[in-house]
C-alpha cells in the first residue's frame, strides 16, 4: 500500500490504452512538492485513472485554487488546459467553465484550507448546484504552502509541528457534503492507490458533483507524532466501507464475489459500477443511513473510507437549466443574436 510504487499493471510505461496512448501521455510537469508529499500520490492515482479510462487528454479541464495541493493540476495531463484560480475560488470558476461547455471532463483539485476555510461557501454552493465535475480535496489538516498553520479540518487536540494542540473543532467535509445533498461522496487515502484509483474513475464517470476527500499527509508540517493526519495515524484509524471496483471489475469478475457482497450502481452513461461492500450491510445509496453510520464510527474514532454515498439521478446544472445540446460557447452568433427585425418590432413596444 505504498504511496510510490505503482500497481503492476502499469509498470510498463509503454502499455497502451484504448486510445493507443501510454501512461506518459497523461503525466504532467515535474512536481515541485516535498519528497513524500501525499499529494504526489494522488496525482499518480489521477494519472492512472485517466489512463485506464482512456480519456482524450485535451478534452479534460483541470482547475484548482492556491496551495500545495492546488499546484498538482500542473503535474498531470499536460495536454489539457489547466487553471490555477485564486485561493478558495476554484468552484465558481469551474461552474462558469462548465456552464460554457457541458461536454468536457472537469477535474478540480483543492486543499483543506482552500476548500474548508476561505473557499467553504463556494464549495457548498457548487455542491448545491451539482456542477458536473470531480472535486478532489487533498486533505492534510494543515496549510502546507504557508508553512503549517492549522486548517479547518484539523482535529481538536491534534498537535502542530511545534506541539501546540488545536483548539477548534474540525469541519468534516464528508458530513458537510452529505448534509448538503452532494450526489457523490467518497473518502480515501493518498497511500491506498488500490482504493483511490477506482474512486477517481467512478467520480469522473459520475454525472454531477463528485466529491472525494483524500487524506493526504503533509510530510513537512503534519506527519508527526500527535497529528491525526499523519501516515501512521491514518493507517490505523481508517476503516473501509465500500471498495469501488470500477472499470476493472466486469460482471463476471463481480460474480466471483460472495453473493450480497457486491452492489451494482448504474452510472448515468449506462455503464455499471460494481461496489464491493466491505462493511456489513452498508448501503451507499441511502443518505440518512450513511450519515448515521459515519457519525457512529467517527465517534469510535474510525474514519470510514470508500464510496460513501452516490445518487446518479440528481439533475446537474445543465439539466436544471435546460441548456441546449450544443455547448454554449460553440453556438454560432446567428443563433444568439435576434437580429434587426426583432429589435425593430420590439422597439414599438417602447414607443
Amino acid at each position: 500500500m505504498s504511496s510510490i510504487a505503482k500497481p503492476k499493471i502499469l509498470t510498463q510505461k509503454t502499455e497502451r490504452n484504448a486510445l493507443g496512448l501510454t501512461r506518459l501521455d497523461y503525466e504532467g510537469g515535474m512536481s515541485t512538492l516535498c519528497a513524500g508529499c501525499g499529494h504526489d500520490s494522488i496525482t499518480a492515482a489521477i494519472v492512472q485513472a485517466f489512463f485506464e479510462m482512456a480519456l482524450p487528454p485535451h478534452r479534460a479541464v483541470k482547475l484548482s485554487g492556491i496551495g500545495c495541493s492546488s499546484k498538482t493540476t500542473a503535474y498531470f495531463v499536460s495536454q489539457a488546459h489547466g487553471f490555477n484560480a485564486v485561493h478558495g475560488r476554484m468552484p465558481a470558476v469551474a461552474a462558469g467553465a462548465n456552464a460554457a461547455h457541458k461536454d468536457l471532463t472537469y477535474i478540480g483539485v483543492s486543499g483543506d484550507g482552500d476548500s474548508l476555510s476561505i473557499g467553504l461557501g463556494q464549495l457548498c454552493h457548487a455542491i448545491r448546484r451539482n456542477v458536473h465535475m470531480l472535486y478532489v480535496l487533498e486533505n492534510n489538516g494543515v496549510y502546507g504552502l504557508t508553512k503549517g498553520q492549522f486548517s479547518a479540518s484539523s482535529d481538536r487536540g491534534s498537535k502542530s509541528k511545534y506541539g501546540v494542540p488545536n483548539q477548534e473543532g474540525p469541519i468534516d467535509s464528508i458530513s458537510l457534503a452529505l448534509a448538503l445533498g452532494c450526489s457523490f461522496v467518497a473518502r480515501s487515502f493518498s497511500g491506498d492507490k488500490e482504493q483511490l484509483v477506482p474512486l477517481v474513475m467512478a467520480g469522473l464517470k459520475h454525472r454531477g458533483f463528485a466529491f472525494i476527500d483524500v487524506l493526504s499527509p503533509c510530510v513537512t508540517f503534519n506527519d508527526h507524532e500527535g497529528s491525526t493526519k499523519s501516515y501512521t495515524f491514518i493507517r490505523k484509524s481508517r476503516h473501509e466501507v465500500t471498495a469501488a471496483g470500477f472499470v476493472p471489475i466486469q460482471p463476471e469478475i463481480a460474480a466471483t464475489y460472495a453473493p450480497g457482497s457486491v452492489q451494482s450502481v448504474t452510472m448515468h452513461d449506462g455503464t455499471t459500477m460494481y461496489l464491493r461492500k466491505v462493511a456489513e450491510g452498508y448501503d451507499p445509496t441511502n443518505r440518512a443511513g450513511a450519515l448515521g453510520y459515519l457519525r457512529e464510527h467517527a465517534d469510535r474514532g474510525e474514519v470510514p473510507t470508500g464510496l460513501l454515498y452516490i445518487n446518479e439521478n440528481d439533475p446537474d446544472l445543465h439539466e436544471r437549466e435546460r441548456t441546449a445540446a450544443t455547448p454554449l460557447r460553440d453556438l454560432p452568433f446567428e443563433s444568439l443574436c435576434p437580429g434587426g427585425e426583432a429589435l425593430d418590432r420590439m422597439m414599438d413596444e417602447y414607443l
Binding site: G96, A100, P338
Partner: protein, 629 residues
C-alpha cells in the same frame, strides 16, 4: 388666483401667471408599495405619448413597503429633461411628508392634496395655491374593499392631474386599455377612478397655467430604462452566460436579460441557449464570468459598488491571466452600503485601477439607455479582443429610470469580434503554442480554448508567468509580460469609443463629463451660451483616454470637469491618464444622491465665468477639497 394661502375653491383665473406650455416640473409624493408607482409610470408614458419631451425620476426608499417615495416629472419642449429640482406643482399624497413637500414647491406654484381631511394651519404657505381634491373620500364612496380604494386613489389623482395640466384623456385610456387588455374588471374601475378625479377637478378648478399640449410625436424616440437596454445589448452581443448576485440597482439588468432570453433564446421545448446563474455572492459571480470567458463563452455580470469590492481579487486575476469578461457597475451612492436607492458616480477610481498591484482596466461610460445598448455590445467585443475585463459603468439614474431615448437600431451586418483565438487551423501553422507571446507588436497574444486541441493546451495562472505561459519567478520573464500588458492597453486606448465633442464659436472654456451627467451639462451649456459664455462640451465614453481627449484638454484654458462624486474622481483620472496639467481642470461636483441638474453645473461654473460669485458656489469649483490649497 390669489396666493393668500387659503385653499383655492373659486375657479383659478389664468391672468396672473402667463401660460407655460410644455415647460414645467412637478413632483408626486406618495407611500411605496401602494400602487402609486404604476400610476406615476402611467403619467410619464401619457405625456411621452403626447409627443412632449419628458423625464421621470423615481426617488424611492431602500425598503419594500410603507415609506415615503417621490416621483419627479419634468416636461421641456426643447428637450432639456435632466432633473429639475424646482417644482411648479406638488401632488402631495403622503401626509407624513406634507411639510417637506409643501416647502418644496416654487413660490407661485401649486399643491394638489387630498382634502378628505383638512390641512393643518402650519402647512399653509401664503405664496402658493392649494388645490384640494377629496380623493380618499371619493374612492371610499365609489369603491369597495380597502385594496381597491388604495389603488384607485392613485388613478384618481392621475385624473385630477389630467384635468389640471391637460394630460390627454384619450391617451390615458389607450394606455389603460393596453395594460388591462385581459382584465376587464380592473380596466373598468380604472376608468371610473380616472373619471372621478378628472371630473371633480374640472368642476372645481380651472386648468392651471402650466399646460401640456400635444405635439407631433417623434417616432425616432422610445421610452426605456438603461438596464433594459443594457440587457438587450448583452443578448444582441451573443452573451450566453450571465452570473450575478442580486443588488440594487443592478438587479433589473439581470431580470431583463433572463426575460429577453426566455423570449429570444428558448426553444418551444424549453431548451435554452443561455445560462442564468444566481451566484452565492459577487466573488462567485465574478469567478463564473471568468471561468466562462476562459472557456470561450461571452459572459457578464451586473453589480454595484459593494460587488466591485468583492470582485476585485478576481478582476486582478482576469487582468493578469488575460481573460475576457464584461462587468456592469450600476453605481449607487457610496461609500459602503451608502444609499442603495440613490445615484452617484463614485466608483470611477475603484474601477479604473481595481485590484492590488499594477492594474488598469477598460471602462465604458454610457450616458443614456440608447448608449447602454450600443456600448454593452462593444464591451463584449473589446473584452475578447483585448482579453481583459471590460467595465460598463452606468448608474441608478440611467439604469432604473425611464428615459426618452433614440430608438435602438441594429446593423444586421454586424458580427462579433472574438479576438485572437487559435483553433486547430492556426495551431497547425505554428511549431509550438506560446500563450503570452506578442507576435505582431500590438501587445495582444493569441489564446486557445480548452477542449480544442492538445497542441494549444496551456496552464492559466494568476501567479508569475513568462511569455510562454510557464510559471516563473524570474525578473525578466515576469517583467516582459507585465510590460506587454501596458502596451496592450495602449493599443486599446486608440480604438476605444472616442469622446463626443461639441464645439461652439469663440469658446475659452471646455466642459468635460460622462454618463448620466450629459443632459444637465448640455442644458447648462445652453444657458451659459444665452448668458454669453460659449463653452465646448466633451463627453467621455471610455477609459483609458484617447489622444483626442488629451487634445481637447490642451486646447482649452479652463476646463470644467463635472463629477457626480465628492472627490472629483473623473478629474483625478484625467490628471493621471492625460498629459494635461491639473491646474486648469476645475472640479464641479454634485454628490447628494440625486441626479445632476443644470443648476448644479451652473452653480459650479458661473462663479468662474462671472466672477461676482457667492462663496458657497465658489467652494464647489475649487479642486476637490482634500487637495491642499
Amino acid at each position: 388666483m390669489s396666493g393668500n394661502g387659503r385653499p383655492a375653491r373659486s375657479k383659478a383665473s389664468e391672468e396672473e401667471v402667463p401660460n407655460r406650455v410644455n415647460d414645467f416640473a412637478f413632483k408626486i409624493a406618495t407611500v411605496n408599495g401602494t400602487g402609486s408607482a404604476s400610476a406615476n409610470g402611467l403619467i410619464l408614458k401619457v405625456i411621452y405619448r403626447m409627443g412632449i419631451p419628458v423625464s421621470g425620476k423615481n426617488v424611492f426608499p431602500s425598503n419594500i413597503q410603507g415609506l415615503p417615495t417621490w416621483y419627479e416629472v419634468r416636461v421641456n419642449k426643447s428637450g432639456h429633461v435632466a432633473r429639475m429640482p424646482r417644482f411648479d406643482l406638488i401632488v402631495a399624497m403622503n401626509p407624513s411628508t406634507y411639510s417637506q413637500d409643501v416647502s418644496a414647491v416654487e413660490s407661485g406654484g401649486w399643491i394638489l392634496y387630498d382634502d378628505s381631511w383638512p390641512l393643518s394651519k402650519s402647512l399653509i404657505r401664503p405664496d402658493v395655491t392649494y388645490i384640494g381634491v377629496p380623493l380618499a373620500r371619493i374612492c371610499v364612496e365609489k369603491f369597495a374593499g380597502a385594496r381597491a380604494r388604495i389603488l384607485m386613489k392613485n388613478i384618481a389623482y392621475v385624473g385630477a392631474l389630467a384635468a389640471l395640466i391637460g394630460m390627454d384623456k384619450e391617451i390615458i385610456k389607450q394606455q389603460l386599455e393596453e395594460t388591462f387588455s385581459h382584465k376587464k374588471a380592473m380596466l373598468d374601475s380604472n376608468f371610473k377612478a380616472l373619471a372621478l378625479g378628472y371630473d371633480y377637478a374640472r368642476e372645481h378648478f380651472a386648468p392651471l397655467p402650466i399646460q401640456l399640449e400635444q405635439v407631433e410625436p417623434d417616432g425616432e424616440y422610445i421610452m426605456m430604462d438603461g438596464n433594459t437596454a443594457a440587457a438587450l445589448g448583452c443578448v444582441y452581443a451573443g452573451a450566453t452566460v450571465g452570473a450575478w448576485y442580486p443588488i440594487t440597482p443592478a438587479t433589473s439588468l439581470m431580470d431583463n436579460f433572463s426575460d429577453l432570453c426566455k423570449r429570444f433564446r428558448t426553444e418551444p421545448d424549453g431548451t435554452r441557449r443561455y445560462v442564468f446563474l444566481q451566484a452565492e455572492d459577487e466573488l462567485a459571480a465574478a469567478g463564473m464570468v471568468i471561468g466562462a470567458g476562459w472557456m470561450g463563452a461571452r459572459a457578464f455580470t451586473s453589480t454595484a459598488g459593494p460587488g466591485i469590492d468583492l470582485m476585485s481579487e478576481f478582476i486582478g486575476l482576469a487582468y493578469y491571466a488575460e481573460i475576457p469578461g464584461v462587468f456592469f457597475d450600476i453605481q449607487r451612492t457610496g461609500p459602503s452600503t451608502g444609499m442603495p436607492t440613490r445615484t452617484q458616480q463614485g466608483d470611477l477610481l475603484s474601477i479604473a485601477y481595481a485590484s492590488h498591484g499594477d492594474t488598469m482596466h477598460i471602462a465604458l461610460f454610457p450616458s443614456s439607455p440608447e448608449e447602454c445598448f450600443y456600448l454593452s455590445v462593444q464591451a463584449f467585443d473589446l473584452a475578447e479582443r483585448f482579453q481583459t475585463p471590460v467595465f460598463v459603468v452606468s448608474d441608478l439614474d440611467i439604469g432604473m429610470n425611464d428615459w426618452r431615448t433614440p430608438r435602438l437600431r441594429w446593423d444586421s451586418a454586424y458580427r462579433w469580434d472574438r479576438g485572437k483565438v487559435f483553433r486547430e487551423a492556426e495551431l497547425a501553422q505554428i511549431k509550438t503554442f506560446a500563450r503570452y507571446l506578442d507576435v505582431d507588436g500590438d501587445g495582444i497574444a493569441a489564446r486557445t480554448l480548452p477542449g480544442v486541441s492538445a497542441k494549444g493546451a496551456y496552464f492559466t495562472r494568476g501567479s508569475g508567468h513568462d511569455k510562454y505561459g510557464r510559471y516563473t519567478e524570474d525578473e525578466d520573464g515576469y517583467q516582459e509580460v507585465v510590460d506587454r500588458l501596458v502596451k496592450k492597453l495602449e493599443t486599446a486606448r486608440a480604438v476605444l469609443p472616442g469622446p463626443v465633442i461639441e464645439r461652439k464659436a469663440g469658446t475659452v472654456a471646455g466642459l468635460v463629463c460622462l454618463g448620466s451627467s450629459e443632459l444637465a451639462c448640455r442644458e447648462a451649456i445652453d444657458i451659459l451660451a444665452e448668458r454669453g459664455h460659449p463653452v465646448d462640451l466633451m463627453r467621455l465614453r471610455a477609459f483609458p483616454f484617447s489622444a483626442e481627449v488629451d487634445a481637447f484638454l490642451r486646447q482649452h484654458e479652463i476646463v470644467f470637469v463635472v463629477d457626480q462624486n465628492r472627490d472629483g474622481q473623473l478629474r483625478t483620472l484625467l490628471v493621471n491618464d492625460t498629459s494635461v496639467e491639473k491646474a486648469k481642470l476645475r472640479s464641479v461636483r454634485h454628490y447628494s444622491g440625486t441626479p445632476l441638474s443644470a443648476d448644479h453645473v451652473l452653480k459650479g461654473v458661473l462663479p468662474v465665468l462671472e466672477p461676482i460669485s457667492d462663496d458657497a458656489a465658489g467652494t464647489d469649483v475649487s479642486e476637490p477639497s482634500r487637495l491642499p490649497a
